[in-house]
Point group: C2
Chain length 242, copies 2
């Protein structure tokens, strides 16, 4: 009968989910390096070899967790962005960045899994790309809207970067000027520098009150992509205008 086929399939889905859940538990508790297939199987009351029916190797299980982590981070950023979707570009930019930091602090091991050093010999499979792009797409969208609405400040590119900048723009956001796309990609990487340094202890004994520090740094990243501060008198100025 139709449910008969569904029985196996449903069971498979459930067991797969249970494995991922338990693996995620261990990942959150101990980190990726201590995630053990045998321990997962033990905790689920099955024998370790049975687990290989669901994930052909430890790396495959990790890949599944990586995709879930990207989606979790992307979802958190999208939710935060949705709450301020009607606000100005700076508020939206800040919301996405702050949400990314928040998620990283709440899920340190999962963050390390996706943005820390890749597991040696491990190369991210193609199927992670869509999930991995969600935060970036959000930031591109914010800048695109600002650009269409009022335009954004631009910093001229050196001659040696213009060709590559055009190529990047054509790939990522053909409707945005190359200068802006370059600034966006750089800010994107720099954002994760800020988050990673806090998360991985590089700020220990250097930055103590990290939330305002991060918010300020993110504001300055917003300048860098051309989202300007409103001047005290209400006149929009260039970024970092002295």
């Amino acid at each position: 009968m139709s449910t008969a086929r569904g029985a196996r399939a449903r069971a498979r889905i459930e067991v797969t989910a249970a494995i991922k859940d338990e693996a995620r538990r261990q990942l959150a508790a101990e980190g990726a390096a201590k995630l053990s297939l045998r321990a997962v199987a033990r905790e689920l009351g099955m024998v370790s070899s049975a687990l290989y029916r669901y994930f052909p190797s430890r790396d495959d299980l990790l890949t599944a967790l990586i995709i879930d982590a990207y989606d979790s981070l992307g979802g958190a950023a999208e939710s935060a962005h949705a709450e301020v979707a009607a606000a100005g570009p700076r508020e939206r930019w800040n919301a996405v960045c702050v949400a990314a930091r928040r998620w990283a602090l709440d899920h340190p091991h999962e963050y390390a899994l996706i943005y820390g050093s890749p597991v040696p010999g491990y190369v991210a499979p193609q199927e992670t790309v869509p999930s991995a792009s969600r935060v970036g797409l959000l930031l591109i969208g914010v800048v695109r809207d600002a650009y269409r609405d009022k335009g954004v400040a631009r910093t001229p590119l050196p001659a040696g970067l213009k060709t590559e900048a055009r190529r990047m723009a054509a790939d990522l956001a053909p409707d945005l000027p190359p200068e802006v796309v370059v600034a966006l990609v750089a800010s994107w990487a720099q954002l994760y520098g800020l988050i990673g340094f806090e998360l991985f202890g590089q700020f220990n004994r250097v930055v103590e009150d990290r939330e305002p520090f991060f918010r300020h740094a993110v504001e300055r990243l917003a300048h860098d992509v051309g989202l300007v501060y409103p001047e005290p008198d209400g006149t929009p100025g260039g970024p970092h205008s002295a």
Copy 2:
């Protein structure tokens, strides 16, 4: 006799160095996760348990490698800086940043060891601090010289960051204004965001021609800390002045 005591001590130093060399070899070849004490011992023709006379645990060996890596990176940056020590602040800033990237690309696994996700459950021992600070001290020195010479551009701090900024300045560079110290620390983290994204594959299919991209991003970091472009007419302008 005096050499008798020295015989053991010298042998110990040599064996310790040999262990670290072989470990570094394996680290560079396969990454930290695949660094195996047994493999190191095997390669050195000793039994694995003997290795514990020199390093009480795998983590201790890794810590030694981390310190060496920090020193190697710091030394590379200092050499690069020394070659342009007489040049202007921007040249010096760029030289340090470019050298850090170069070192990272040349020693990816060692870079991952020190700036990637920390080994789970591993906290950097206090003795790593001096070696880890060398690049940062270099950057502080560049900005300090520029500040003493001609001053640097400043970006005002939000109210909520002023106290922490003063504390940071007092710790890191009491002679520099808090705004500048904040920008310095942020740029420092952002620099490693740029390097890490390139190294860990986040720029795959996004940035292809990475050298000019990096140089441009680093120039903009220089602005952020107040090292301004000379304007076409020779008048120094504010950073990112439109």
